[in-house]
């Protein structure tokens, strides 16, 4: 465990660690583009130069291994000047089209220019022209002029996704990132290249031009796309959620996530959601809209009269404690686990994506085991046929896109008398229900707190990010109401419009303010 001194602070690092890792450990600022902790060292941006005592030439921090007693600094004047020049080299052929660039606001060039640059460029020659708006594949668009050739994306496709689509073509300042012979960048991890691109050269087709990043807030949560449970950040504002990015977690997903998981923000947005409780009687074709709470209370009458003939169907899309509360409030042995495409559940693509597209299958199993329930789907079918089951409470799926057997399951419930279905999203398939139906609007994972147990049995907590459908209930709340109990209703405090600005609750957290100095200082312009 060698010890070294960085800018006067002593730090102990692992054997074989680089100076860059020591900087990271100390949280000392160091300029760099090409270094990424999840990729191999390329050492091409030459920004992370540091001065090592006793070494006449500045060395790069990302490829120099720490030795015992090393004294490193990046605060020396000649290093600062060097960093400034290397930044200038990066920027002389960069188009500086920040106003129309999607990366503006979270761009490595902008951040590091403000931190380490702040010079005025002496470049007076015409810039190199390269290809713009290159369609790299189904998910990614490339702008070669903005590219600073850090080769992160190339190393990603080489080392992580191992698909090798991207390469650097041509030499010198004519170098461009591209795919061989125009073949598409098409793999399930392609959007990670957009995340690791420090500039706006690679942009996601899905997010491109939809929002400026400074209009977005982010919140850390979990990916509900499959049972891996990647740690993610969801970016949202009052118009809804806009994109998902991975968050580093050594135990679960490392630095990456799959493209499929990046679609999970879509179904939580308002246009896909069930906004009101709905009910219809057998034989009717029109729905009656009701408040969610009132609807759930009405459903209580049905459940009370059903008695022993009640069955519960669970999907692996709710949080662990929601199942536990549901099974406590509706004590029945007729609990069934709706397993979508169970035959694929053991599939694994070798990196992150698993065949089980539910975030909390383990949570369902845990709750059922805790109540000592062992059932089979066929029991449900035979129960319905024999009339032993007349009322079904379905904790329906949130992300319906991965439930391909939806129609089939609805058909199999055809002869049940009453169905109480909790769902976050609306779906055409509900029209096919011919029973007495109560549709209870549910909150999505972004709007509640809880925990998921992933494939490895790791329980991960997630917190509430925002509210999209204010009326929706959590499964726990719904279970209290349908079992005839009351839930404490959180009273919104009357908004005092006349409290002065300095005492008003802050809409933007300090962290966001720091990220976006411009918005922060807007009032003082």
């Amino acid at each position: 465990m060698p010890k070294c001194t960085i800018n006067g602070h002593e730090v102990e690092v692992k054997e074989g660690a680089t100076i860059m890792e020591a900087f990271y450990k100390l949280n000392e600022g160091i300029a760099h583009y090409c270094y990424h902790p999840g990729l191999s060292v390329a050492g091409v941006c030459r920004l992370c130069i540091v001065d090592i005592e006793g070494n006449p030439r500045p060395q790069i921090a990302c490829n120099t291994v720490v030795t015992e007693g090393m004294k490193v600094t990046n605060q020396a004047e000649k290093i600062k000047d060097g960093v400034k020049w290397v930044l200038d080299f990066h920027l002389i052929n960069h188009p500086l089209d920040c106003p129309v660039c999607d990366q503006a606001g979270e761009c490595g060039l902008q951040d590091q220019y403000m931190q380490f640059g702040k010079y005025s460029s002496e470049m007076a020659e015409p810039k190199v022209k390269k290809h713009k708006v290159v369609d790299l594949g189904p998910t990614v668009v490339l702008d070669s002029e903005r590219c600073i050739l850090c080769s992160r994306c190339v190393r990603f496709t080489d080392e992580v996704s191992k698909t090798n689509e991207l390469g650097l073509f041509n030499r010198g300042d004519r170098t461009e990132v591209g795919t061989f012979d125009g073949k598409p960048l098409d793999n399930n991890y392609s959007l990670n290249t957009v995340d690791i691109c420090p500039v706006g050269a690679l942009t996601s087709k899905d997010f491109r031009f939809r929002q400026r990043v400074w209009y977005l807030k982010d919140s850390e949560t979990l990916c509900t796309g499959c049972s891996t449970g990647c740690n993610v950040k969801v970016y949202y504002n009052k118009e809804g959620a806009f994109r998902v990015k991975p968050v580093y977690n050594e135990k679960v997903n490392g630095h990456w996530m799959c493209d499929e998981g990046r679609g999970i923000y879509k179904f939580v947005n308002r246009e896909h959601r069930l906004l009101k409780g709905r009910m219809k009687q057998k034989g009717q074709s029109t729905w009656t809209d009701m408040d969610a709470g009132a609807l759930a209370k009405e459903a209580y009458q049905v459940i009370k009269s059903a008695g022993e003939k009640l069955a519960i169907i669970l999907t692996g899309q709710y949080s662990t404690h929601e199942y536990q509360i549901l099974l406590k409030n509706l004590p029945t042995k007729n609990v069934f686990h709706w397993q979508n495409q169970a035959e694929k559940w053991n599939e694994f693509d070798g990196l992150l994506l698993r065949g089980d597209r539910n975030p909390n299958t383990k949570g369902v199993e845990l709750a059922m085991n805790a109540s000592g329930i062992k059932t089979d789907w066929n029991d449900l079918i035979s129960g319905i046929k024999s009339g032993a089951i007349q009322t079904v409470f379905v904790a329906g799926p949130e992300n319906m896109a991965v439930y391909e057997d939806m129609k089939e399951k609805i058909q199999s419930l055809g002869s049940v008398q009453n169905i109480i279905w909790t769902t976050a999203c609306k779906s055409e398939d509900f029209e096919k229900l011919t029973n007495n139906v109560w549709l209870v609007p549910m909150k999505s994972y972004l709007e509640k707190e809880g925990s998921f147990i992933n494939n490895q049995g790791l329980e991960q907590k997630f917190k509430k990010a925002t509210t999209i459908v204010s009326e929706a209930l959590t499964l726990a709340e719904a279970s209290y109401l349908v079992s005839g109990q009351n839930i404490p209703i959180i009273k919104m405090e009357a908004v005092d419009t006349f409290i002065d600005a300095s005492r008003r609750p802050d809409q933007v957290t300090l962290e966001h303010r720091k990220k976006n100095e411009f918005v922060y200082k807007r009032g003082s312009l």
Binding site: A42, R46, V86, F89, N93, E122, D173
Partner: protein, 430 residues
């Protein structure tokens, strides 16, 4: 002292090209002698001889061999015949006139470092040298000098020729290794150095053609015999490629420490009638230029040239007389380095382009006076900031040209035409 015939002793004989003629003139005798020595003894002898890399950097060959790990790991010997440095053409002659001399040197070196496989990386433009070396290797295989159990010594060695595609950067040792591996010819990050992890991630030694050929003579004459020529720190003789505005351009072998002035005026036949010496680039285009006054003092060895802020490099002496416009010449050099930068490291990729643009805007009459200082600043900040030395190679000529011939640059900016030629860029190049 004058020209010597050490390495080039039999180069005037046409038969020296073939195996028969080579053997007749003492060929492959040293190989047999080498096989009687222990590999460590050969390395020790090379160390003692003071042989330094003839490709450009001038690193001590024996010391380089000593960096190899002392285990049985497979290792490679690569011969760098990608003679890309503008002005250099000595390796070409060596491969054309005496391919067996190189092969013999290589087998001895491979035996010394324990390499079972070696490659000769020749630049793609060298059609004829490639043909010569390939033919010689075939002859050597047929004669049992390559392959299994060479000359009954129990040493196996395979040799192959690899033709590059003509990139300057592939003359850099790690760039060459990348190219050999089938990748884009880009230098690799050091450490690890090639001697630890090189070709196919195995220990690798890369040496220049002349260096490897000289190993044979160290075996023949011993370390002390090799030191007969040259100075204490720059031992042996070396081939120099003399070119430019001179009466008798060509390859000359002289002992290291030879006077540069003698080289130009005695061996090279001096300036063309009515012309005066203005400047000399002593070690290939990436070496800083010397002006006429410095040429008088310079001797051709590593130390003297280093003390004058330039370098011996690959031994390409480019003579410039007073009819040449230095701004125009720098334009050619910056264009070359801009074209040849591999584009990996930012300071080099962007800097070479920037330098080229500035020099050309001066040439095309768009220059500003501050551009001259900007050239110095940009070049200064490209130095020592990159993986390989191409960035330095591009920066050093700019620094020396601008600082030593600043008046020509200022004249060009002010008047829009050359101080020497009196014409503008378009007129100079029709």
């Amino acid at each position: 002292m004058s020209e010597v015939k050490y390495l080039t002793e039999f180069y005037h004989l046409n038969e020296f090209q073939g195996l028969e003629g080579y053997k007749k003139n003492g060929g492959y005798v040293q190989l047999e002698r080498a096989f009687k020595m222990k590999p460590e003894e050969i390395t020790e002898e090379v160390k003692k001889s003071g042989l330094r890399g003839r490709g450009g950097a001038g690193f001590a060959t024996g010391v380089k061999w000593g960096f190899l790990p002392k285990n049985g790991e497979p290792r490679y010997l690569l011969c760098n015949a990608d003679e890309g440095e503008p002005g250099t053409f000595k390796d070409r002659m060596m491969m054309e006139r005496a391919p067996h001399q190189l092969i013999e040197g290589m087998i001895i070196s491979a035996y010394a470092i324990g390499a079972k496989k070696s490659y000769i990386y020749i630049r793609g433009e060298y059609d004829y040298p490639i043909a010569c070396v390939v033919k010689a290797i075939k002859e050597a295989y047929a004669a049992g000098l390559l392959g299994k159990n060479i000359l009954g010594s129990g040493f196996d060695h395979e040799m192959d020729v690899y033709a590059g595609a003509g990139a300057y950067i592939c003359g850099e040792e790690t760039g060459m290794i990348s190219s050999l591996e089938g990748l884009k010819g880009q230098p690799k990050l050091k450490p690890p150095f090639p001697a630890i992890q090189g070709y196919l991630k195995k220990p690798t030694i890369v040496n220049n053609v002349e260096t490897l050929a000289a190993v044979k003579y160290i075996i023949r004459d011993g370390a002390q015999g090799f030191r007969k020529y040259g100075t204490e720190k720059s031992a042996g003789s070396k081939l120099f490629s003399l070119s430019g505005n001179i009466v008798k351009p060509g390859n000359y072998e002289v002992p290291l420490g030879y006077s540069l002035k003698d080289m130009i005026f005695n061996l090279g036949g001096g300036m063309k009638p009515g012309r005066k010496l203005k400047a000399v680039i002593p070690g290939g285009s990436s070496a800083p230029v010397l002006n006429a006054e410095e040429v008088d003092r310079a001797t051709l060895d590593y130390e003297c040239l280093a003390s004058m802020g330039t370098m011996l490099g690959s031994g390409a002496i480019i003579v410039i007389d007073d009819s040449q416009c230095m701004v125009d010449m720098l334009g050619v050099l910056t264009h070359f380095y801009h074209h040849e930068s591999c584009g990996q490291c930012t300071p080099c990729r962007e800097g070479t382009g920037w330098l080229n643009k500035i020099v050309h805007s001066i040439l095309e009459g768009r220059g500003r006076l501050q551009d001259i200082d900007l050239l110095l600043k940009v070049a200064d900040n490209m130095k020592g900031r990159t993986i390989c030395a191409l960035s330095d190679a591009a920066a050093l000529p700019v620094l020396s040209f601008v600082s030593k011939f600043r008046d020509e640059f200022e004249f060009f900016v002010r008047e829009g035409r050359s101080k020497v030629k009196g014409t503008n860029y378009a007129q100079m190049h029709h």
